[in-house]
């Protein structure tokens, strides 16, 4: 999942569709994010490359919409509804995920096991 500056990023991604759950006033997705270009990448426990400033899933609430949809802790979020999440600030990422007029968010996430699965299947 490391990137070479100037080269397009390639990754094996999984498409995850999460339906937002209404809890009182708010629409929640059931997970927490960390990371962003304005954050300290060295403290990210999930990233392989400690200079990766992408958005990572740090927690998934059990029985929440995210877990039901198949999101796992440690996933890196690459796209949200078509918007790129690899070069955004933390706040921008939060905003993209919590738009009030959207009921469904379609994420493209990547994780290490995906690549390995592809490799295995190709062998």
């Amino acid at each position: 999942m490391s990137f070479i500056p100037g080269q397009p990023v390639t990754a094996v991604v999984q498409r995850i569709e999460i339906r937002k759950l209404r809890q009182g006033e708010h629409l929640i997705l059931g997970f927490s994010i960390g990371g962003g270009i304005d954050q300290d990448p060295g403290q990210n426990p999930f990233s392989e490359d400690k200079s990766d400033k992408g958005i990572y899933v740090t927690r998934v609430t059990p029985e929440g919409p995210a877990e039901v949809a198949g999101l796992m802790m440690g996933d890196k979020v690459m796209q949200v509804n078509g918007w790129d999440m690899t070069m955004v600030t933390h706040d921008q990422a939060r905003k993209r995920l919590t738009k009030k007029n959207e009921d469904v968010v379609r994420l493209l996430v990547t994780r290490k096991s995906l690549e390995q699965a592809v490799k295995h299947s190709m062998m």
Binding site: I33, G42, H90, R94
Partner: protein
Amino acid sequence: MDTESTYSGYSYYSGRSRGSHRHGERIRDHHKSRSKDGSRSEKSVTINAPPAEPLLGDSSVLGEEVQDDNWGETTTAVTGTSEHSLSQEDIVRITKDLEDSVGLDCRRYFSLTLAVVLGLLVFLTPLAFLALPHLLWPDKLLVCGTACEGLFISVAFKLLILLLAVWALFFRAPRASLPRVFVFRALLAVLVLLFVVSYWLFYGVRILDSQDENYQGIVQYAVSLVDALLFIHYLAIVLLELRQLQPAFSVCVTRSTDGETRHYNLGQLSIQRAALVIIENYYRDFSVHNPALLTASKSRAAKHLAGLKVYNVDGEFPASPATGPENNAATGLAHSQSRAMIAAAARRRDTSHNELYYEEAEHERRVRKRKARLVVAVEEAFTHIKRMQEEEQKKAPGDVMDPREAAQAIFPSMARSLQKYLRTTRQQHCHSMESIQQHLAFCITNNMTPKAFLESYLTPGPTLQYGRERWLARQWTLVSEASVTSGLKEGAIFLLKCIDFSLVVTAKRIPYIQLSEEFIDPKSHKFVLRLQSETSV
């Protein structure tokens, strides 16, 4: 140049030189040194045998302690456990004393007279320059005008300043006698002599012979002489006092018997002056040399050697090795024997390390136990004494004691535990009963706590803290391969031998330090927050 200078300096005469510059030796004590040596020789003749303690102190190693309640037997510090060597050398020293004293006095007198003569010459020369024309050709002399008389005042005050300056620099009690001539002083004396002689020559030829009438010129000449003498005195200050202040060498001083090491920073000195500084620092910094502490390692060494013996079972040595091969055979045999001994010693299962470990642990425990008893005894003894206030003194003149009597009153209650403690730490010959009582009286007088009183017995202090017989201030010998008047160099090594031990001194140059500067703008201190926030969506 491979010169070895060994010299033990004894001085019986103190000199105060009137002269501005003096040769070589600086002398230590004043006349009382003579009486002290006399009494010391008497003391060393009546050597008391140490009471029932074996020579190498084996018994102390094993922990058996001879319970000796007779303080009086062990009060003379010349005696001790392994000081047979000391007593023999004592006798040698005394004979050397008597032999050398005659030669030394001549040296003292010689340098002293030279210095006095030079000093008189220097001080009287300007006055002679001024007075001689008036005596020899008074009628031809021009009258001395105002400017000339003003110069008289100048000469007078400059001579006074010169006198005070010479008094300040050279009229000091000598602190040591060094083996060789003090090179800078000798050079300065020669310089002054040459200078004065050349002035006299000029004066004699150009003024006395021609009987110059210009008295003002003569006075100015005398003033220039005094000025130049003041400048030479400035040179003397720089060479003798200032030059060695800036540290240039770091010397490492190690005592050969127990390895105690200290480091000092010295300036550019000759080896003998550096040795003097080191010895003076030795008396302040090193703990007193206690031969009784070394007996344990000596006995271990003896046990190592006594373990193996080599027997020649077959063949005998050739009687007189004539030719080459036979000679080699003999030496080869000896070599192989020593190698065999070393190999056997290495292979032997030596348990002496085990013994050492347990012995040291046991000794440590014993010392701590004795120390605890001692501290308690002393604290209890001190509670019996109370200082009487002024008002009470007038009211109840009953059983009033001065500090000495008070010390004698409370001493018996702590004497036994103190004696046992000193025996355990093998310090008993450093402290006599008299000195302990004196110290106790001193502590009582100055309102010291028991802990303060005990401090001088719990830790061995510097040599000067103990009696004079421990100082051995006159027994130092400088052993050096380089000439002792040459300066310290990088890697210079010399030895300072006292009777029982020697100080090994190594000199290293202090490195040239290159200091660079880095400027930090106070506005450049800026910080950012490194966050890692987690938001739930």
